[in-house]
Symmetry: C2
Subunit: 447 residues, 2 copies
């Protein structure tokens, strides 16, 4: 039954996993707002023309049609958005007059891609994005703010540490141009396969497909070996002996960003010149983040600077820079490895027992008093034996059962984990702080 | 430009409206959890066969296809869900062994219907649902809990008061059967049009389409005039002189629910026997809620008991009862009337000014200290004249601008609404509570 109803690539969680997802989404949302980003949400659909605008997209698009269409209507074709950046670009064009720039916005929504499902790759998944869009210009400071914000947001989540790698497209393009290469996109696309097909394979593709000399091909890859957690990459690149104006510009930008991030712990953000974000629309800085110790999962966050995406016709430049966190990729992976645990399967902290049908209003009243102090509680639905009511609480991991009427003529609360029961007043009793809300724990000792 | 990019029926909000929506969704979520409901989220798509299962659906479905399909694959057709109840029914079948019953879950998601857009009717909209699903049986207490929960959730939202009307399908069906009518669904469907086409029109349809005698048709409508805010409806129905076993069952259920709701303020929930929820899958209690003074908008929440929806093959009965709040219908209406206001256009409470490029780390440090106490703040991005920085804050309605360096050698904060500026310590300063987070105000004096 279960298999028959599942749809490959469309993950669903059990309620206790959804509690974890909700908690993490809330933490991210709060952090984004703490840094002054505006909430935004776009419709799930865009005109197909908008989705295909970038031309180079490798994203498989889901197209919509109405089951019962009226012949009279001549409707444009719509598709589900495959990211949150293309919709943002359209949104800022559409509402430009009502928005304030630089526009800092966050957006947490599901996106859809008709790709072949595999580990870490879904057809429906959550992304959490932040972007800053400027009117006409956008200072480079925002390019430095992005990896810094990623660090700030991710460091407090119950997930493995994320290390962030950064690079600059101008640097790469300038370097390639300095080598005399003209088909930059073609070469970038091949170099982007390095992690999948290895150095040998990449070299032969560069020679066979891109028509480079074996020497030039080797030089192409040489830059990708450069890494640093400070600005020492500048000298390393210069020592390769390639010169180009755009290369210098890229080096300057990347050095500026690294300098701006000096206050972060050493190694939180590293320069890695093999990061390119191949087919995407980036024009300057690019970012990728990986879970420490789980790099095989691939990037769990990524982004970059795009100078042209949100520009309507060329005269109204709207450059942007942003990053996207792959929530479902992270959670799907951690869930599958059993690394994330919730302290219970329900928000409920207290189950208020029902002594008898006649006492239903007493039960309800105790629950009401507890809720007034923000204690999540539910009332048991039938006057069954207390043993049965307690077992319901146990199955859900509810820590406390409340008895609104006892033989002693008072109200009592029982910690069912310890089996300890004591007199309590529904108007004042509070559980320990760690029991009030569901606790989420990342536990890497499971592996 | 703006018109060209909009898609009819797919509403989008400005960031300041999204702040309001987020706040309201959070309030609803917190209230649902306070009552012990589990969070759940289902994929956006269901197999078309699942969506059409109910047969009688009048919902227009959006079907998906991949733009680039592999010929090899023989994929089933999928559609976007048009409500959250059909997916819930499928979910509890699929995950039955991992769930605990009675299952109390809430679900807040977008749904899609390809209907012709008009006021209050969208093609993409948010619903906030709660349901309880039982294994084999589900006590009637939950049927009483639903309107009570609706009342509890809605009363604290910044929206007009919602009055909830309730009825019972068994009561209606029993009454019709007592009148000798056999095509219950056909008659229900016609009676459901009463509000749209009036009494005359309904009567003639009952005679012409359903083949009733004019007398029986009148009796059909007679029951629809009965309303009460207590159990007096029982005598009113009995005085109509119709007798049927199912009618008695419905009267008993409805009377039980009304008695259970005695603690609510008089009139919060009323019996109204013309509520039927025509084409839906309900088998017992039905509910509808309307915004007081804005009834023309139609129902803003609705629901009922369904004994068969979640049952897989007949042997595993999984009766349910639930209600759904039409978030987008409510907000779209209140936004269009200008009745909801946010106190500012951003979460930001404090803009930390940038005195000069050299002082960027000072600016950042003051912001960091403010954020440590949960104060949302952003740093200004360029060392422009203070007047320009203050105007940025004004445009977004940010109440405070922070100066990390002044001629007096200290830090100062300025309430830009009052123009008052004073010395302040970023390590301890707090804004008044009402300025800390965005305040949402429902203002019906605008009309």
């Amino acid at each position: 039954m279960s298999k028959q109803l599942a749809i490959s690539g469309f993950p669903e969680w059990l309620p206790e996993q959804r509690i974890i997802e909700n908690t993490i989404l809330n933490q991210i949302r709060n952090k984004f707002e703490l840094f002054g980003f505006l909430p935004m949400e776009t419709r799930a659909v865009e005109p197909l023309s908008q989705l295909l605008k970038q031309g180079e997209t490798d994203k498989e698009i889901y197209v919509l049609r109405r089951l019962q269409t009226d012949d009279e209507e001549d409707e444009a074709e719509f598709g589900l958005h495959f990211d949150l950046t293309v919709p943002l670009a359209r949104y800022v064009q559409q509402y430009r007059g009502q928005l304030n720039f630089p526009l800092k916005r966050y957006q947490i929504q599901k996106v859809w891609r008709g790709e072949r499902p595999q580990e870490g790759r879904y057809r429906e998944f959550y992304q959490a994005d932040i972007d800053v869009i400027g009117a006409d210009t956008l200072p480079l400071h925002f390019d430095a703010e992005m990896p810094w914000l990623l660090y700030e947001v991710l460091k407090d989540l119950p997930i493995p540490q994320v290390h962030i790698l950064i690079n600059n497209r101008k640097l790469l393009e300038g370097y390639y141009r300095g080598l005399g290469i003209e088909d930059i996109v073609g070469v970038l696309r091949i170099v982007d396969k390095l992690d999948k097909i290895g150095e040998e394979g990449t070299l032969s593709l560069l020679v066979e497909q891109a028509g480079l000399s074996p020497d030039t091909a080797k030089q192409c890859l040489a830059i990708g070996h450069i890494q640093s957690d400070d600005t020492s990459f500048v000298d390393q690149v210069k020592s390769l002996g390639v010169r180009h104006e755009l290369l210098d510009e890229g080096l300057d930008e990347l050095a500026f960003v690294m300098t701006s991030l000096e206050d972060l712990p050493k190694g939180a953000v590293k320069v890695d010149l093999h990061i390119a974000r191949g087919l995407d629309y980036y024009t300057g800085m690019v970012y990728e983040g990986f879970l420490q110790g789980h790099e095989s999962l691939g990037a769990v966050c990524s982004g970059g600077r795009y100078d042209d995406l949100a520009s309507s016709s060329g005269k109204n430049k709207m450059p942007g820079v942003g990053v996207s966190i792959g929530i479902t990729r992270i959670l799907g992976y951690l869930f599958s490895k059993g690394l994330l645990q919730a302290s219970r399967k329900t928000p409920t902290c207290v189950l208020v027992a029902l002594p008898s049908e006649e006492k239903r209003s007493l039960t309800r009243d105790s629950a009401r008093q507890l809720r007034e102090r923000g204690i999540c509680c539910e009332t048991y639905h039938l006057p069954q034996k207390y043993g049965k009511q307690i077992r319901y609480a146990e199955r859900l991991g509810i820590p406390y059962v409340w008895f609104p009427e006892t033989e002693e003529g008072n109200q009592q609360v029982r910690d069912i984990r310890l089996g300890e029961q004591s007199t309590a007043d529904p108007a004042s009793w509070m559980p320990p702080k760690e029991d009030l809300n569901v606790q989420i724990e990342y536990n890497d000792e499971v592996e």
